[in-house]
Symmetry: C2
Subunit: 218 residues, 2 copies
Amino acid sequence: MTEARAEISDGVVDLLGVLAYGELSAFDRLAEDARSAPTLAGRAALAAMAGAEIGHYEMLANHLHAHGASVEEAMQPFRKHVDAFQESTAPRTWLESLVKAYVVDNLAADLYRELSTVLDDEVRRLVLTVLDDTGHSAFAEREVAAAIEADSTQRDRLSLWSRRLLGEALTQAQYIVAERDGLAELIVAGSVDLSGIAALFRKLQQGHAKRMQVLGLG
Amino acid sequence: MTEARAEISDGVVDLLGVLAYGELSAFDRLAEDARSAPTLAGRAALAAMAGAEIGHYEMLANHLHAHGASVEEAMQPFRKHVDAFQESTAPRTWLESLVKAYVVDNLAADLYRELSTVLDDEVRRLVLTVLDDTGHSAFAEREVAAAIEADSTQRDRLSLWSRRLLGEALTQAQYIVAERDGLAELIVAGSVDLSGIAALFRKLQQGHAKRMQVLGLG
């Protein structure tokens, strides 16, 4: 059992590391967006979501620590790509903030769910818990639907915005996969048809397209 | 039992309201300070503290809701004073951030502990849980002690800073007490020697002075 505890592949450290930095980065984004909320209730709702991200971060950090890996070191390789994504997609309005949180959280959830098939039971349970919806999706869907109904020009603007978010996210994801061999191996191991990384990205795009229809932006 | 659930005095709504807005405001402050942390570990530590504040906020909101009160309405009267305090004491350095968090959290804890004697069991337990140290004190003590040792000129600067924080906090607290009759009654009811509000403020100053000695800033 102690042997099993100690074993953790480079690919899994990478996976948990990019997930951890993603949570920390999402915390920042939500905390900042909370301040631009039009109501006190909206501010509290976003702050609570930020709090949930940090709870997840701590679970990942604890797991890495239990396996002798440092979360700070595990996150390090991903900072520049995640930060670049955040900088290239800084929301200018409250609605852009909400759509961004919705798009990114769901893309990340899809990505990790795809990869979870190659993880051992303990890590899979951890990843699925961490990706548990923090209540953001329902909140975003409600707010965005109300905004589109009130002003139909918002639809085109937000639809364009969601496409840009997807593009920037996939760009940074491609850089990461190109740089991190362990992570790339994990993806290839997880693909049933050997088409690997291209197939994964295609799946992510399809999931995104479906969600945009749900949101009224398809 | 259902009767007791429904009963909640104006003073208690005020108390939980100012505590709730204090938590929301502390979340903002810690989330922003997290971004200026010199290390990724410091950033994660402050983000985790911010997450804890939001957990507390949710407990207070749930309690108010269970008693038929709205947390948004309960917070409203205190926004301007808490915001004024935050604006008049915006930290310019990482150390000022840490000292501020330390001073404010502990002042708030002292204040609510004093008032908890007049609360019923359920509210008292809630308040004491919410004021549970979120790990900030030990972290701040360690970081400040190390900074003072490395550069003794920091001692005078941070000592002055902590005095200013106390002064601004008591100023806003006095405004609040002057405006909120229910809260003032709660304080008077809680003072054993009838000296009431002045005695409470004196106690807070004494507690602050003791803590500053612990921190090496006395």
